[in-house]
């Protein structure tokens, strides 16, 4: 089981990324202790040059982490045939207790990475590297996250036992089974609609407010994060039902398959991107008081916020369209 190439690749990449981040953290600690922008000494010069290395290491690490997230899901999908009772990726993730945590950790790393890269980009716009300390401190927080993901993912794969009967999405995502996934799908479609469009309204409102008034970007970021979670919940309890045209099929992964016109991508890509841009907008906007950055903040924050709003709009539009075009009618049952 462990010898499947995709699994080998995932473990290898996770290990290498953890090492890269640990190396970067080592440099970061050194930087935090010795950094003195005013000094012209050779040491300072060396430290400045180090920052390029750390930037490159981390950019590459986070890009790879994103691809590994995608590979992880694909792999779970393709392995579903090897587990009794697993009809798709959901079943594979349920094989032991480490599957879902791995996925959540990967998603958190994606967003942490996006945030860090935003900080890094902004820091490079200021001639006195104003965000150096915050940036590298953040890095020291992200590294344990990555190391944990490596550990959890490896345990997941090591403890995979193909003979164990696992629940497939049918039994996991049915309303009376236990666990988070079951609770989420037990949101009634009416409640899910409320959650989805309610949070969506907050997101659009806070975003537009920010674009017009240029303040409260943090509110926008927070409501986007909430909107992200709300969107995932709605996909599971409501939107997926219409895509599958089946009132009890809640799985969030089967919509990525070709049989459903790859609808999953049309939903997840804009959603993930929009959330990252919104978080980035909040992060950047928080730095507007810093003199060397204020000009850059004024340029980039609105751009990011605008792009985030556009992507959120696309997401909500697609989600609505997928429901409306579906042949599933639950008149007088749900509505």
């Amino acid at each position: 089981m462990l010898l499947n190439p995709a699994i080998l690749a995932l473990i290898l990449v996770s290990a290498v990324i953890t090492l890269m981040l640990m190396l970067a953290s080592g440099f970061a600690i050194q930087l935090l202790m010795l950094w003195d922008i005013k000094s012209g000494s050779e040491l300072q010069l060396r430290l400045e040059r180090r920052t390029y290395l750390i930037s490159v290491l981390l950019t590459w690490a986070f890009v790879s982490e994103l691809i590994s997230l995608i590979l992880f899901v694909y792999n779970a999908e393709s392995m579903s045939g090897q587990f009794v009772g697993a009809m798709c990726a959901t079943g594979v993730l349920n094989v032991n207790a480490w599957g879902w945590p791995t996925l959540f950790l990967k998603i958190s790393i994606f967003f942490s990475g996006a945030t860090w890269l935003t900080f890094n980009y902004l820091d490079n716009q200021g001639f006195d590297y104003p965000l150096v300390r915050i940036k590298y401190f953040l890095l020291l927080l992200i590294t344990p996250l990555v190391a944990t993901e490596f550990y959890v993912q490896t345990r997941y794969f090591l403890e995979m036992n193909p003979d164990v009967i696992t629940s497939c999405c049918g039994s996991l995502f049915s309303a009376d089974a236990e666990g988070v996934a079951a609770e989420v799908s037990s949101l009634s479609p009416k409640a899910a609609v409320g959650v989805l469009y309610g949070s969506g309204f907050m997101v659009m409102l806070s975003g537009t407010w920010y674009l017009l008034r240029k303040n409260s970007a943090l509110l926008f970021s927070v409501s986007s994060a909430v909107g992200f979670i709300a969107a995932l919940m709605s996909i599971i309890s409501y939107i997926s039902l219409y895509i599958y045209e089946h009132p009890h099929h809640h799985c969030p992964f089967c919509i990525l398959k070709s049989g459903h016109d790859y609808a999953g991508y049309a939903l997840y890509v804009p959603l993930f991107l929009a959330t990252s841009f919104a978080l980035a907008a909040g992060v950047i906007s928080a730095c507007r008081k810093i003199p060397s950055l204020s000009a850059s903040v004024e340029i980039y924050a609105p751009k990011l916020a605008f792009t985030a709003l556009a992507l959120f709009t696309i997401f909500y539009a697609i989600a609505t369209w997928l429901v409306l075009r579906s042949s599933l009618t639950m008149e007088s049952v749900w509505w």
Binding site: K38, S41, E48, R49, N124, F127, Y129
Partner: protein
Amino acid sequence: MLITLTDINKVFNQGKHNEFQAIRDISLQIEAGKVTCIKGASGSGKTTLLSIIGCLSRPTSGRVTLDKEVLSGLPERFLTDIRRHTFGFVFQKFNLIQGLSVLENIMLPAYPLSLNHKALKTSAQQLIVHFGLDRVMHNPVEWLSGGESQRVAICRALINKPQILIADEPTANLDTRLSQEFMELIDELRKTGKTILITSHDPVVFDSPVVDRIVEMRDGQILES
């Protein structure tokens, strides 16, 4: 553009056994629109001084100011940006990239500025024509003579329209006639308002009437101003 150096010190390999102080407490002002020649034997520190003035390296202590802006504290990235727009370098060994044509070598410094390609090419071609290189425009630089190479180096230094031109031992690889031609080019550039800084120990250069001021260096210090 007035360049001011205040109490500049440059130490190499600080803290190690081969620590070496190249420049000691130098204070200097380079006047705009004039041709200044820094004269000194090799090892006197003039190349180091040049690289500090031209923002190629940072002083260990002291301040470099350009007009009113303090440059010495800036990190490399911003220094490079200022350098690109302010200084043009002509090196002793010309330092053209072999394998590229004359035109490509000249356009090279402008690549990171992501200018419109057509506009950039036009500027380069204007310089090429002005300096009489149009016949060899597409030739690889290995085929050029010493004089032609130097003119390419000058064009390259001028592509980003800098205010200040810095030349390090520009005539070291040229014969007398070409050295005099070089000084004539310098004169032309000065007349267009550029500030020019030359290091040399060639009499053709420092004895030339084109030079407005001579600064002499020895052992990392200035002898006379």
